[in-house]
């Protein structure tokens, strides 16, 4: 099992996005690249009287299968978590792990979702939980269970409970959308006749900052998802853009042009306050990104003659250059563990996602489309989602940080751009 776990830990996650619903596009995922070994896991139907609760087991199966780390077996039977597993039967099916469970409706209308994860070789229980869940969150309960199983068996934190934000353009209208990582539950917090760009999740996942052109100029808004409340936190003379959250969720670094050229300022994330200027070049400074510990801000600047990525203390001050080689390196994003810098690099007129190890300096180009933009790390640092164009259409893709697996998400309606992977669910 241990060798398998080590192998699994290097496997990337595949994610499947199927958008359904009246205002969402249907998406299809095409995968290229090869995964390594997969752990065979058998997941039984959960014992339940409730039809809606039956989808808990299917969510767990889809998540784990989509991860690429598991070969999911459906034993086509219902097994409650307290029942001893049929070890001989499971062994002959090839399974090495087994999940049984139940969903019971409680007196107050909520559900008690229970499961146990068994190790078939050792014939022992690895994990067991009870999740009290409202009906509307039954899919989320399935995602949380998949996360727990994934982490137990691979050692890595799963992203099955995360959400993504993205912008769609269709029939002259622009929507800011959020969806579960698997494409379900698409909602559109904003629908506008003018462009929306640069969505960015608050660290606690409750708000989105973005740039809206509804006033015929770029203005930065902070939008509270639960209430729909919007605050125009940066609406100064000129252009306001590129919002990046500080790790404590209280400030945003933004690009403002109120003093002429685009420079980086710090503003309050909750109200329209006075900006504090952080950069002082006579060039273009933009695209700020905080390091995970909040101590530094990485940003794009052409102060050296061509756009490159620099780093300065989060309070402003001397900036040191981080990218070299190519004459155009933009859109810095820092991995959650702070060790890697993802960015867009231009080589021979084409734009690719690149990854640089900040300690060792080693740099790899991860994509080959040539029209890439807007990279975004998954919160476990294993994947980078980004936007690209192919066949005249804009679509999203994801690449594992080792570059081995790429997924292309094709939509049959509209252009999709500006992805932002949300934080771990609390």
């Amino acid at each position: 099992m241990k060798a398998l776990i080590t192998a699994l830990a290097t496997l990337p996650i595949l994610f499947l996005m199927l958008l359904s619903g009246p205002c969402a596009a249907q998406m299809r995922i095409d995968v290229s690249g090869v995964g390594a070994t997969q752990l065979p896991i058998s997941i039984a139907d959960f014992a339940t009287e409730s039809r809606v609760a039956q989808e808990v087991a299917s969510v767990i199966r889809s998540d784990l299968a989509s991860s690429g780390a598991f070969r999911v077996i459906d034993p086509q039977k219902t097994v409650i978590e307290t029942a001893p597993p049929d070890y001989p039967g499971l062994r002959s099916s090839g399974a090495e792990a087994f999940v049984g469970g139940s969903v019971t409706k409680l007196g107050d209308g909520r559900y008690d979702v229970r499961y146990r994860l068994y190790d078939i070789a050792k014939q022992s229980t690895l994990l067991g939980e009870s999740l009290i869940t409202p009906e509307a969150d039954l899919r989320l309960a399935g995602h949380r269970i998949a996360d727990a199983i994934y982490q137990k068996l691979t050692g890595e934190r799963g992203v099955f409970s995360t959400r993504i934000a993205f912008i769609t353009r269709q029939a002259g209208r622009f929507r800011l959308n959020i969806a579960d990582w698997d494409g379900e539950n698409v909602q559109s917090p904003l629908n506008s006749p003018e462009p929306i760009i640069s969505p960015s999740w608050s660290p606690d996942g409750t708000r989105l900052a973005y740039v809206s052109f509804e006033a015929k100029k770029p203005v930065v808004y902070v939008h509270t998802l639960a209430t729909g409340q919007r605050v125009a936190v940066a609406n100064f003379k000129g252009s306001n853009s590129a919002p990046a959250w500080s790790p404590d969720g209280r400030s945003l670094a933004v690009a403002l042009t109120l003093d002429g050229m685009s420079q980086i300022y710090l503003i309050s994330a909750s109200e329209a306050g006075t900006p504090r200027r952080l950069t002082s070049s006579s060039a273009i400074d933009t695209e700020p990104a905080f390091s995970a510990d909040g101590k530094f801000i990485y940003f794009t600047s052409d102060r050296g003659g061509s756009p490159q990525i620099y780093r300065m203390p989060a309070s402003g001050g001397d900036a040191t250059r981080q990218t070299f080689g190519a004459t155009y390196n933009v859109s810095p994003r820092i991995s959650p563990d702070g060790r890697q810098l993802a960015f867009i690099t231009r080589r021979e007129g084409r734009y690719f996602v690149a990854l640089k190890d900040l300690a060792g300096g080693n740099e790899t180009v991860l994509t080959d489309g040539g029209q890439e933009e807007s990279p975004s790390f998954a919160p476990n640092g294993r994947w980078i989602m980004y936007a690209t164009r192919s066949g005249g259409r804009e679509n999203l893709m994801a690449v594992s940080v080792d570059g081995r697996i790429k997924q292309r998400l094709n939509s049959n309606r509209g252009d999709i751009r500006e992805p932002a992977w949300g934080p771990f669910a609390k």
Binding site: P195, I197, S198, F213, K216, K217, P218, K237, G238, S239, S241, A242, A255, T257, G260, M261, S262, I284, T286, E287, T300, P307, Y328, V330, S331, I344, R346, Y351, E373, S374, G392, E418
Partner: protein, 189 residues
């Protein structure tokens, strides 16, 4: 008297009446400084709308004055003010000589009409980062803004903003499309 002489006398009398009006507006006067909210959107003259009678009550020879409004120069397709776009060379933010006369005309209009405001919108083509392109578009708008300020336009009359690549002609990558998008537009408010 024959008919022709009657018309001539009537014309002369009318001319004398008009000349006697204290509020005459010469047809070739420039547009008045204050906003005229009753100028029709298509710039057509408001002929007949402002008919004013100069007839003292009971006159047997009333004359009604018709005032032709001067055309709003912002609506005149033949005016240099009709040119609202400034195009830039690749990788350049310098305003080319061929646009100097256009900028002069707009500066003259704005300095002569201090209540008028304009937004300068900078654009780029679609290649590269959206946010970096937003900043490049701003650089174009800012170049035009500075040029107008240098020609005497007041800061409070102008705002430079960027649309980046967001309004670029989509998908086209030929040289003509790319050149079209390297552009700043003057938008009167």
């Amino acid at each position: 008297m024959n008919k022709r002489l009657i018309y001539q006398v009537a014309a002369a009398a009318a001319a004398l009446s008009i000349a006697a009006c204290s509020s005459s507006i010469k047809l070739d006067d420039p547009a008045p400084v204050e906003d005229r909210s009753n100028v029709p959107a298509d710039g057509s003259s408001a002929a007949g709308a402002g008919g004013a009678s100069t007839n003292p009550a009971g006159s047997s020879r009333p004359v009604t004055q018709v005032t032709i409004d001067s055309k709003d120069p912002l609506q005149d397709p033949n005016s240099p003010l009709a040119k609202r776009s400034i195009y830039f060379d690749f990788d350049s933010f310098a305003i080319k000589d061929e646009y100097r006369s256009t900028l002069d005309a707009h500066a003259r209009y704005l300095t002569g009409n201090r209540g008028k405001k304009a937004v300068i919108q900078g654009n780029t083509d679609e290649r590269g980062s959206r946010e970096y392109n937003l900043a490049l578009g701003q650089k174009r708008a800012e170049a035009v803004r500075r040029a107008l300020i240098a020609l005497g336009v007041s800061e409070s009359q102008l705002e430079a903003v960027s649309l980046g690549e967001e309004k670029a002609r989509s998908g086209a990558n030929d040289d003509a499309a790319l050149a079209e998008n390297r552009r700043a537009d003057l938008v009167y408010q």
